[in-house]
Amino acid sequence: MGAASSVPQARTAAFDEMRAEDGVRAAYAEIDRWLRATPREQLDAKRREAELLFRRIGITFAVYGEGGDPERLIPFDIIPRIIARSEWDRLALGLRQRVRALNAFLTDVYGKQEILRAGRIPAALVLENEGYRSEMVGIAPPGGVYTHVAGIDMVRTGPDEFYVLEDNCRTPSGVSYMLENREAMLRLFPKLCARHRVAPVGRYPEELLETLKAVAPPRAGSDPCVVLLTPGPYNSAYYEHCFLADEMGIEVVEGADLCVDNDVVYMRTTAGPRRVDVIYRRIDDEFLDPSVFRPDSLVGVPGLMGAYRAGNVALANAPGAGIADDKAIYPYVPEMVRFYLGEEPLLANVPTYLCDREEDRKYVLSNLDQLVVKLAKGSGGYGMMIGPHATRDVREEFRARILAKPGDYIAQPTLALSTCPTVVDQGIAPRHVDLRPFILSGKEIRIVPGGLTRVAIREGSLVVNSSQGGGTKDTWILEDEGPDAPEAALQSQSQSQSQSQSAGG
């Protein structure tokens, strides 16, 4: 794998997205003026208002089994994160390319397996991977799309340096925060929003519905029945499931609401059974169908895979899509781009060491104090070690773990994640951020300009996951030039109600 020396490391100063050496970057000029002009008390008042707003709407993140309040708020930082349109356009091109390659890879590994036969990716790495679902071999999802909704986690290390940190091809979450954060900003800071030309994100649900409809079985006709399948209210992303379904005007169903008869999926309604054509599922593969995957699943639908195989229902994302976002497969994504598209990758990968390979492992073990070590199967920021921040004991513990199960671990250089100004207890200070844009693939690829910016609230912390105390920011893709035409087209002043009850006689 590539040498780590070319990647900006955490020891070097992080790239500040607002402040360059010679002053404030152009995209942040107005934010800078606003922050200077706004007294701290006012910012604090707005922060409290924001919290109340989120609590009131019920935008919570459910954390069960850890004690404390199970319905937690993800801290929302009121200073938006800004990306210039020109920067975004370059990113978006790269994202499209990457997702096309990921879908091509999925079609291939469940089909002809050409990339494996060509020796570009070790066959065992794919075929013996837990994420690989042999049940999917021979099933061709409509349009060759497996990952209809992909969340690609990006980090920035310099003015022109973006890296893909990881791909999320299964059931990426967080898009509701992208939408609600914007709503919150428009409510809390209408004037600030009006002074910027922010690309709107509000069309996402519509685009998602179009994408889902596009993959419906042909017999469904022009108005297919689309539903969102959730594990239920105890799932951490339940709010998001309801929010998206509501915005799209579709039903949120649980496994028990669906039944399969003769390879056709129905939902139980007050008017009797109703046929279902597309399922936007937000439950993991293993739980989808107890007759095929985990038999103890209580949230799945027995017979669902049979209906899927028969082509009577579409599943988004397709089962088995997880093989494409496996951390051990990740280093090969640039290779996929070259192999399937014949193009050079536009987005860079972070150099990654697979501890299963002897050469890589040797490097990792002798550089534990500089690397981030992650579980190849982990997510949510659990079970990872950030070398430069870890104590000796923790590093030794990871050394033992890697030696015991090398295949379970990967390592990457500790990137100097870019920072954005963030309101913290001591004032306004730079904090590390990442970015998760959402890429939709149906008949075509659609990307709403924006994404979820996660911010590590703790000083120096590089972990942005909400399960680890990370917060979020609204992400503004800002048109570089042109007149100040506000996004929130200020509603024309409507006439006030002119009638009133006449005074009693």
Binding site: R56, G58, P233, Y238, C242, A245, V253, T269, T270, A271
Partner: protein
């Protein structure tokens, strides 16, 4: 509509209505207990409220005697009592959360704010001197929720299941409240205490003023029974509630191309019985027997709705 959604809407409305009814009942009982204390009949007041809310068995397994403390605890906080105010709000909000997409923002916020506020409220703020204020607040919150539903919901199936839940729960509550006081309305002789008790019966369905508006005369047990059972003008009367129940079920059936079941037949029978019933015949047959039948058939109707629309 998804059966589970209909189920949650129905129960969300039932639990909310129940919380309001329990608050109203507790308020009236506290007031009455203050009067009865002088006559040594305080415990009877508390006992009849526990009976009316349907938890007598469970109550006496847990508490020795019905006192102000034990009954308030049972009907406000006790997690073992699914008809207590806190558990009802909790259950209503749980149901609401499961079907948020079917609720309007105003309904959700009315309920979610109530729940958030209750969660943060120390127990002291719901007892003793603070009890009356607390109960009034609960009733206000329920009124706000009902108003939000009434004012903001599309008149579609979601609204119908909410309305069905509210009305069925209200009918059940009225029948139960009246039943625990039936002896007062059928007693041969009348005393000073009875008059206060009659007022209490009317207050517990928010009908003291209504009585005066309709009859313009002194309280009389026969008329009280008639008002609460048969008069369509009183929104909490059995007649008014069952008319709404039958009408709502009919509207749901029309939305499904006329698909009807046992629940429709039962609701229609109940409505007809009340519509064409006469109070003298009911009193002659025996008020208690009549109300017992009503309570049983209300429960049966709930079961039939469930069997036809939810667990088919």
């Amino acid at each position: 509509m998804l059966s589970r959604t209909a189920d949650s809407l129905f129960w969300l409305a039932r639990y909310t209505e129940r919380a309001g009814n329990v608050a109203r009942g507790l308020g009236v009982a506290s007031r009455m207990a203050a009067v009865s204390a002088r006559l040594g009949a305080e415990a009877d007041e508390w006992r009849s409220l526990v009976t009316a809310t349907g938890g007598e068995g469970a109550f006496f397994r847990k508490y020795e005697a019905p006192t102000a403390e034990s009954v308030v605890h049972w009907l406000v906080f006790d997690p073992d009592n699914s008809s207590g105010i806190l558990p009802c709000i909790e259950a209503a909000r749980r149901n609401a959360r499961a079907v948020r997409t079917a609720l309007t923002v105003d309904m959700w916020e009315a309920l979610n704010d109530t729940w958030n506020h209750l969660r943060a409220l120390p127990p002291e703020a719901m007892e003793g001197e603070k009890l009356a204020d607390f109960l009034r607040w609960v009733r206000e919150r329920v009124t706000l929720f009902n108003g939000a539903a009434h004012d903001t919901m599309l008149r579609n199936e979601a609204w119908r299941f909410v309305h069905l839940g509210t009305m069925l729960e209200r009918a059940d509550n009225t029948a139960r409240l009246l039943d625990v006081k039936h002896h007062l309305l059928t007693a041969e002789e009348e005393g000073a205490v009875d008059y206060v008790q009659w007022q209490t019966v009317l207050r517990s369905v928010s009908a003291l003023r209504s009585y005066q508006w309709i009859y313009r005369d002194r309280l009389n047990p026969r008329r009280i029974a008639e008002l609460i059972i048969l008069r369509p003008e009183l929104p909490r009367s059995l007649m008014a509630c069952f008319a709404e129940v039958a009408e709502t079920l009919e509207a749901i059936a029309l939305g499904h191309g006329g698909r009807r079941g046992e629940c429709h037949r039962l609701a229609g029978t109940l409505q007809a019985q009340l519509r064409y019933g006469r109070i003298d015949a009911i009193l002659e047959e025996g008020l208690h027997a009549f109300l017992t039948t009503m309570i049983e058939r209300t429960a049966a109707l709930g079961g039939e709705i469930d069997a036809f629309y939810i667990r088919h």
